[in-house]
């Protein structure tokens, strides 16, 4: 039995919302029972399957964001794993790298991609330069033992497997949600650093 490309895209697009809602349901209680864990993961799935005006919440979310980035999905996966296992696999420097890459990508892509200039960086996502740049960024991070490098490799794997509806490499790397969270996180980091200096 083969899976159609459309089904594959739907399944992939459902992952990030499922991970995010699961994290919300798990809450911040550090002592999670196995029942609470399984229950939260199951409940989030059924909540997202719940039909609103004939369409599941998964479909409504997909209407708005059909291409969650592999970076966002990977980071949500890291958070959920840490929450379920109680083990930290991302250190503060790994998270900082995630927010810096997200901010840099968002600042390059969105203003110009939405028409600020006649240059369209989004069009670079259809040629072969961007994957090479991401391989270089992943190399640089991995040489410093930064684990966010592994998440960047996910975007290359996802693009190779055509898991997204989009054929543009930028969409494997960044989406507006990851971009916005990164911008906020970097602003918080900058403010914290300025306060420490003061």
């Amino acid at each position: 039995m083969t899976m159609s490309a459309e089904t594959l895209h739907q399944l992939y697009a459902a992952m990030a919302p499922w991970l995010a809602v699961s994290l919300l349901l798990l809450g911040r209680n550090p002592f999670l029972s196995r029942v609470r864990m399984v229950g939260s993961l199951t409940l989030s799935f059924f909540l997202l399957c719940f039909p609103v005006e004939e369409w599941s919440m998964f479909s409504w979310i997909r209407m708005v964001e059909p291409n969650p980035s592999f970076t966002l999905t990977g980071l949500l996966g890291v958070l959920l794993y840490e929450r379920l296992s109680g083990k930290k696999i991302f250190r503060p420097e790994d998270w900082n790298a995630a927010w810096l890459v997200g901010t840099l990508a968002a600042l390059i892509l969105y203003p110009m991609g939405l028409g600020l200039t006649h240059i369209d960086p989004y069009a670079w996502g259809w040629n072969s330069i961007l994957p090479l740049a991401i391989a270089a960024a992943a190399t640089s991070l991995l040489l410093k033992a930064n684990r966010f490098g592994i998440i960047l490799i996910l975007s290359l794997v996802g693009s190779l497997l055509h898991l997204q509806e989009s054929t543009n490499f930028w969409d494997t790397l960044i989406d507006p949600i990851y971009g916005a969270v990164s911008l906020v996180a970097v602003m918080i980091l900058v403010v914290a650093r300025l306060r420490r200096r003061a």
Binding site: E6, M63, Y110, L114, G115, T139, L142, N168
Partner: protein, 389 residues
């Protein structure tokens, strides 16, 4: 993380990046010979007006697009419903009949069908354009609205291999980085040498600007990318006219206070474009359509007003868009609306112009180059100078 694992991951990263390498299908694109080898048509003047959707009682129809099918049949698509962006808007298809006239309009895409194919809720449908392949296939590019109005739209495509009777499931094209908002299609696509299409598209989200969608079928797969003509929030809805295999002109709808038709030029097959420059032809923030004639002259259909769409005119340029002569007024009625012209040339050399007639009809005017020459010689001309872009 062990040193060995790090190096394995680094090698994997470069391997995956290398596997993602694919040469661009469109980097050295040239406009197709069928766009440039122009049949001037019959020597005697022809001029005829018809209603395409006579008898279709809809409160609103808009944005007609034409394509030539095999055996010289003309096909038209447009959208219609209770009002723009309404959930009941459908895309209609009609084709010319051998004895003259047009077939009864047939729904080829509805919101429900698009929702089924794309597996997500939609608010409505909008602009559609037909692309006629050399193998007889027809590709429909159409706009769906996810939310809001045109700024919440996306482009989709489906294919017919039986002259528009049955269509493949629709497929979404991802063309914008921000929630895939908001690309629309409106004007005639240009075929490329070696196969594929260059389709004028535009964005209407934070900015309004003209772009090009490059499409090609390769080994059964649809490959696509896009490039930009200009950025900002000034001009959009490009109409593309190839001058030769590498040079092209883009006529642009104006969104500024200039209220003029803008022009941009490309000398490298549409890869790069000059900064758009205002012509002195007026534009009331309305659609335009251009076409090249067999003797190199350019024909432009436009609203000859900077304020309203109550007329539809033709203008002619002998010098690749530098200067223009007003040719004739095709429609004029105070308080009415004649808009969104779409020019195309048929296999027998006729020039077909489809447009929205008073908001409730799709009109088609057929004429040939002999009629253009006749009209030109009989009318007093008003020459308008345009700065060189």
């Amino acid at each position: 993380m062990t040193s060995l694992l790090r190096w394995v991951l680094i090698v994997m990263a470069w391997l995956f990046a290398a596997l993602l390498y694919r040469p661009s299908q469109f980097s050295r694109a040239r406009f197709g010979a069928d766009e440039l080898a122009i049949n001037a048509g019959a020597a005697s003047p022809v001029f005829k007006k018809t209603a395409v959707n006579a008898g279709q009682a809809l409160p609103m129809v808009h944005v007609a697009s034409l394509a030539t099918l095999p055996a010289g049949i003309e096909a038209v698509v447009w959208y219609g419903g209770s009002k723009e962006c309404a959930p009941d808007v459908k895309i209609y298809f009609s084709e010319s009949e051998h004895g003259g006239g047009w077939s009864s309009p047939r729904v080829i895409m509805s919101r429900e069908l698009a929702e089924h194919d794309l597996q997500r809720p939609l608010q409505g449908l909008g602009n559609a354009v037909l692309l006629s392949g050399s193998d007889g296939s027809l590709r429909l590019l159409f706009t769906t609205i996810a939310m809001g109005r045109w700024s919440g739209s996306q482009l989709n495509t489906c294919l017919s291999k039986d002259g528009g009777i049955t269509w493949s499931p629709a497929r979404r094209l991802t063309l914008s980085p921000f929630f895939n908002l908001s690309d629309l299609v409106r004007n005639r696509a240009i075929s490329l040498a070696g196969g594929g299409w260059c389709v004028p598209i535009y964005q209407e989200f934070l900015g309004k600007f003209p772009e090009l969608l490059w499409l090609k079928e390769s080994k059964g797969q649809l490959e696509y990318c896009k490039s930009r003509i200009a950025g900002g929030c000034s001009t959009f809805q490009p109409s593309l006219v190839p001058l030769d295999d590498a040079r092209a002109l883009a006529f642009l709808r104006d969104y500024t206070d200039n209220r003029k038709v803008f022009l941009s030029r490309s000398d490298d097959g549409g890869c790069s474009w000059s900064k758009p420059v205002a012509s002195q032809l007026p534009n009331p923030d309305a659609g335009i359509s251009g076409l090249k004639l067999s003797d190199g002259k350019l024909l432009l259909s436009y609203n000859d007003s900077s304020e309203c769409r109550d007329n539809l005119a033709l203008a002619l340029s002998r010098d690749e868009g530098k200067t223009w002569e007003k040719l004739t007024m095709l429609e004029q009625e105070s308080g009415s609306s004649f808009s969104y012209p779409f020019l195309i040339r048929t296999e027998d050399g006729l020039i077909n112009l489809a447009y929205t007639y008073k908001g409730t009809g799709i009109a088609l005017t057929e004429f040939n180059e002999a009629w253009v020459a006749d009209t030109l010689s009989s009318l007093s001309r008003s020459k308008v100078m345009v700065p060189q872009p």
